[in-house]
Subunit: 352 residues, 2 copies
Amino acid sequence: MATDSTPHANRKVTLADIAAGCDVSRATVSLVLRGSPLVNKLTRARVEEELRRQGYVYNRAAANLRRRTSSSIALVLNDLANPFFAEFATGVDEALGAAGYVTLLGSTGESAAREQAVLGSLLEHDPAGIILSPAEGSDAGQVLRTIGVRTPMVLFNRELAGKTPPDAPWDLLMLDNQRGARLATEHLIALGQKRIAFFGGHAGSSSCQQRHAGYVEAMKAAGLPIEPHWRIECAPNRVDAAAQCGALFFDAPAPTAAVCYNDAVALGLMLGLYQRGIHPGRDFAVTGFDDIAEAALSAPPLTTLASTPRARGRQAAELLLQRLNEPQAAPRRTVAPVQLVVRASSCPPPAA
Amino acid sequence: MATDSTPHANRKVTLADIAAGCDVSRATVSLVLRGSPLVNKLTRARVEEELRRQGYVYNRAAANLRRRTSSSIALVLNDLANPFFAEFATGVDEALGAAGYVTLLGSTGESAAREQAVLGSLLEHDPAGIILSPAEGSDAGQVLRTIGVRTPMVLFNRELAGKTPPDAPWDLLMLDNQRGARLATEHLIALGQKRIAFFGGHAGSSSCQQRHAGYVEAMKAAGLPIEPHWRIECAPNRVDAAAQCGALFFDAPAPTAAVCYNDAVALGLMLGLYQRGIHPGRDFAVTGFDDIAEAALSAPPLTTLASTPRARGRQAAELLLQRLNEPQAAPRRTVAPVQLVVRASSCPPPAA
DNA sequence: CGCTACATTTTGATCGTTCCAATCGACCAG
DNA sequence: CTGGTCGATTGGAACGATCAAAATGTAGCG
């Protein structure tokens, strides 16, 4: 005679198994699981023992189906391999986990097409909401069509192209790009710099536009001129930045400082400067943006703006959780402050 | 009169809504969704139109419940913020997504206790399998107790402490640490180096032991001596490595080359050498391990071993998918090759 | 004893999908 | 006209949980 009380080999243990095992109904077991005060102490103890004995695992999907709830949230990132977003993801997962949610991960590799596909696939798992850091060129209309008007979403870091439907429960969390770049520029000006370039990034990207605007703002406020050849575009990575370095010196007057789009670009630029015999932090001032781990360890250490991506991740999660509690609230735009970190890469201009 | 054909405001659109909308049964709509050849062309067209019109979204959770399948896989990492694991995660997600799975993310922050909690929480979502990069000190018995003997798992990068149950469907994917360190050492020997140190890492860590073993292997094979003071321990980061640099030169004979535990250590060591007026890549040869992004951009560029974490991620996913197809197969231990990347930091010894 | 009050437990329907067996109409052979 | 085959469709029972309402049992009280 098979002892069917032994943990069964093949099928998963369900409520019904436990119920049968200690001679109560499924409903009672369910009440025990959820810690209801309705069940008798003795019954509870018996059921809990049986749960342990059979190695029961709760099936949240079934519960969610019946309750018409969801316990997951989709996190879709344009570039998880980038340490900035990896930190962000860590923060998101941390906060969501604490709130009892599970993170559905999707990475789009900066492709709007893949973003559509990923969103579609994740949606089938019925997330309670979405945290999206859009791929470059991702469009509001497209996104709306795949996720509908009813799924709450927090957009991080970039806005969507095209116009956002005013009734959609979409919140926004951005870095204070403009103020950050302004702070960096003002810092250089305070050091006595007058010929300051804006280096790197794609002029199409909204974060680059905002940072450039902050730079322009500070320059204008100080009454300093802005030469057109002081704005150099390049891909936001070290290699391209190093390659584009020379473009700063094609025409006179050459700049003596550069506000860079981000840290990767700044580190690349410093490399390029070295290769030309220019010593950054002595002959030429450089600032970055993001404060990635390497910024403090480069030679010279990089002056930059700290954006604390992990805290941003937690914040994005909080925003979404709040919206889940308050689905009808008006859309919010949150701008997270950034902090200037002064290190040795920013210096006064060489004596003329 | 309300036109209930309009996309409904409140509830989600289900099979039943579509069925009602075009006057067929739920079963037929389901067949259409899954592309069954059984349905008539005209019916299919009508249904598909209605699906579009109502903005239907497939509920995979319900389907999985009925079919007793799962379409998700749990990815649990000890440190997502580390670029190496972020790349790994990207690779995993890439491969899983292509196979129609969704990634459930969990980050443990190197805490075995949190790892238990995270695993438990993710299990409730009934993943088809787990990819786990264990936290330091994570124990096989503990893990077994929370995930059971029936959930397939791929362990990455570290083994679990304690003994692994022989019947569990657990596979292993490790880097070839020993061979990597051996290759680096042989490379230095081929350049004419004879006094080679092993620098950095904690002797307790299994990856450090393996790399050191590879170094010893190459030295012995070449008949070269190994001085005890040629092994310097330090934390696997730049700062500590730079600080420990001096220890290489306390006793004679001083080494003229060092095989480093990883790139971070190697970069730190190079910094320390510079500070002593020793020019790495000319006066002293250095190799690293990992080939992180900065390795190619340091001065001098670093000779190291490429572990291609993104490819490892894809590989881990493939291993798991294979096991899902073949649940009864014997556990596999896969060792991923690493590739020597020769750059300018490795050089012949200075002429005596 | 009959009635209410209370604590505890159960029954049966339900969530959105899939599966199985049954049905239906059309067509053809005998 | 009957019976069989075939293509297309359908009803209803699952999957594993929850919920609302009903059913127990037990005690108190006039």
